[in-house]
């Protein structure tokens, strides 16, 4: 187990290096000149030239990349052009909100999806099974931001059950109840498509597993049906489910940008969109880098889970 994890950890290095190259290149693909953006349209040629030299923009790209990476490794992601503050602090300050949102959505889609999938697999072609098939088709066809707006209109604006936007109430809020009330709509919106995907995959894997000989054996031995389904069936169906949950984590981290924008959730997504529209490249870079790093770590965790679930993998 340990050697497997160490080997897997060693692979993270090159991927992170590649990610950093992409993030760096994205900034330097841009037609806009950071010096021009910082000084505004009235700047003189001499001023621009001086700032460019100061920022190191006149040096060759590999040199710029190496220096940038050196700073990043030390936790210095540069200063936001727009807010004039260090990027890392801004991004981390918002990252907690994004983690709460995506984490809740991931929990909803994993628990809800597996439960729904197991229920459909044990009663194929039942009403529940058919409804979940329709829901999964709808889930992958629906724009997440549209679903968010529709839910917001119904539950916040018409029925008034839940707050429409933000993370805490401006007055008198701030406790866990307040947070959960604000979290409900965005988390459900974000999780909606994933729940159905996890449910469908769980159903098909479970159906396959439940058709195996050892399930028949377990039943013949007189094992209680609930234990047959959960311990003999689900346990062995978990590997593909974990894979799809890992994929969903990436989908949720990306989809969070759209959901956050709909619900004015103060996360990295809204920060990044503001940064793009303000052409604040260090800020955008920082946001992308932190979210991508988080996704790499999620994938690592998924691989570790595989090894834990299936001894054949860790002995390879």
């Amino acid at each position: 187990m340990k050697t497997y994890l160490v080997r897997r950890l060693l692979l993270v290095g090159p991927v992170l290096l590649g990610v950093s190259v992409v993030v760096f290149m994205v900034l330097h693909l841009s037609p806009g000149d950071p010096a021009e953006i910082m000084l505004g349209p009235q700047a003189t040629k001499e001023d621009l030239e001086r700032l460019r030299t100061e920022l190191g923009l006149t040096e060759p790209l590999p040199v710029q990349y190496a220096r940038w990476l050196g700073h990043v490794v030390q936790g210095d992601l540069g200063r936001s052009l727009w807010m004039k503050r260090p990027v890392l602090g801004e991004v981390l300050g918002r990252f907690q909100a994004t983690l709460i949102l995506t984490g809740t959505a991931l929990l909803l889609s994993t628990v809800g999806g597996i439960a729904l999938g197991v229920a459909s697999a044990t009663r194929p072609n039942s009403l529940l099974d058919r409804l979940s098939a329709v829901a999964s088709l709808f889930g992958v066809s629906m724009p997440v931001f549209w679903l968010g707006i529709v839910l917001m209109v119904i539950f916040a604006l018409w029925l008034g059950w839940l707050p429409a936007s933000g993370m805490y109430s401006p007055y008198g809020g701030g406790d866990l109840r307040d947070l959960l009330a604000h979290l409900a709509l965005p988390a459900v919106t974000l999780a909606a498509a994933s729940v159905t995907i996890v449910a469908r995959l769980t159903r098909s894997t479970m159906l396959e597993t439940l058709g195996q000989d050892y399930i028949r054996t377990a039943r013949a031995k007189g094992v209680v049906e609930r234990l047959v389904v959960l311990r003999h069936g689900l346990r062995n169906a978990l590997i593909p489910i974990v894979t799809v949950v890992g994929v969903q984590a990436g989908y949720l981290l990306g989809g969070a940008v759209l959901t956050e924008t709909v619900f004015a959730w103060p996360g990295v997504g809204t920060l990044m969109v503001q940064g793009i529209l303000a052409r604040d490249f260090p800020l955008v870079q920082g946001c992308v880098l932190v979210v991508a790093l988080c996704f790499v770590l999620v994938n690592l965790a998924v691989d570790a889970l595989y090894a834990w679930l299936d001894p054949r993998i860790r002995l390879e």
Binding site: G18, V26, H28, P143, F145, G254, V273
Partner: protein
């Protein structure tokens, strides 16, 4: 050349005419079973025809501002689906917006498909630096969450429909590269490829004549499902203000601008969203049916 004939016949491909008739038969059988997919196909064809013929349809000018007729509800006189915040006819805007949304989705999926198939063929057929380079680049693309990378690329290139399409195409590459590569890897070791090589066929001939035909079905299925994903992604970027720029509108940007009026006039948001939903749903239904049709395993059961 008698050996050449032997190689061809060893390839598991029935004669073309027989195959077409076979497909036709299973298409008819599937259509009988799957009325939903046929309905979806009808919806898709109608949408494409409307988009293509938009300039010739009896529609109002999608950009004509009528300040006296702002935010009219659907079924208002003269405006079947109502008007938006500038009094522009929503039906006309939806149809004209479909030109942008459908084209953006199809074009970015097509670009990703063509580039992905070429890269997938190369990385599957040749071992060595090309394979290493392509596969490592794919790994890195996949280390980013899908939409996030598209947003990052648009941030670099600058907002706009063309840049949004480029970004979405790049992000979609790994799907095709990995699909094609996995098929090519298994074909590479098969006897008919070995035989063709023994007969002195060049790599281009082997790839084009013996490998490519096997890719048609899986790639068509992936493409038909991918267009829907791409339409959703472009709409998402437009919703964030990173795709189409005003006055051009697609369904995503119509939704974004309608948001502030949603409480009093929900239709300005509901209609464009419904349009995206119906089209993507139809694409998914047709894509699933195509998979059933083209995948011999499901065809045997049908």
């Amino acid at each position: 050349m008698s050996l050449g004939v032997a190689t061809v016949s060893r390839e598991p491909q029935p004669a073309l005419a027989g195959r077409a008739a076979d497909l036709q038969r299973s298409a008819r059988r599937l259509a009988g079973r799957n009325r939903l997919a046929v309905a979806a196909l009808v919806v898709l064809v109608a949408a494409v025809v409307a988009a293509v013929l938009a300039p010739h349809l009896p529609l109002q000018d999608p950009d004509a501002v009528e300040t006296t007729n702002r935010l009219k509800p659907p079924l208002s006189p003269g405006h079947l689906l109502g008007t938006d915040e500038f009094g522009r006819d929503l039906l006309a805007r939806l149809v004209w917006g479909s030109r942008v949304s459908l084209l953006a989705g199809a074009a970015s999926a097509a670009a990703a498909m063509v580039a992905g198939v070429v890269l997938g063929l190369l990385s599957g057929f040749y071992t060595g630096w090309a394979e290493t380079l392509i596969m490592r680049a794919t790994d890195i693309l996949m280390a980013f969450p899908y939409i996030l990378l598209a947003i990052a690329i648009v941030a670099g290139l600058g907002p706009g429909l063309r840049n949004a399409m480029i970004a979405i195409a790049i992000v979609g590459l790994p799907l095709y590269i990995r699909l094609v590569r996995s098929v090519v890897l298994s074909l590479r070791e098969r006897e008919f490829v070995e035989a063709a090589r023994a007969l002195g066929a060049t790599d281009t001939l082997i790839l084009g004549r013996h490998v490519l035909p096997h890719l048609v079905s899986p790639v068509i299925v992936a493409f038909s499902l991918d267009v829907g994903t791409k339409i959703l992604a472009t709409a998402g970027l437009s919703f964030l203000g990173l795709g189409t720029q005003p006055p051009t509108a697609d369904w995503g940007s119509m939704l974004a601008t309608g948001r502030q009026f949603v409480v009093f006039r929900p239709h300005v948001v509901l209609l464009p969203g419904l349009a995206i939903f119906v089209i993507v749903l139809a694409l998914n239904l047709v894509g699933d049916a195509l998979r059933d049709l083209l995948d011999p395993r499901t065809r045997a059961q049908a």
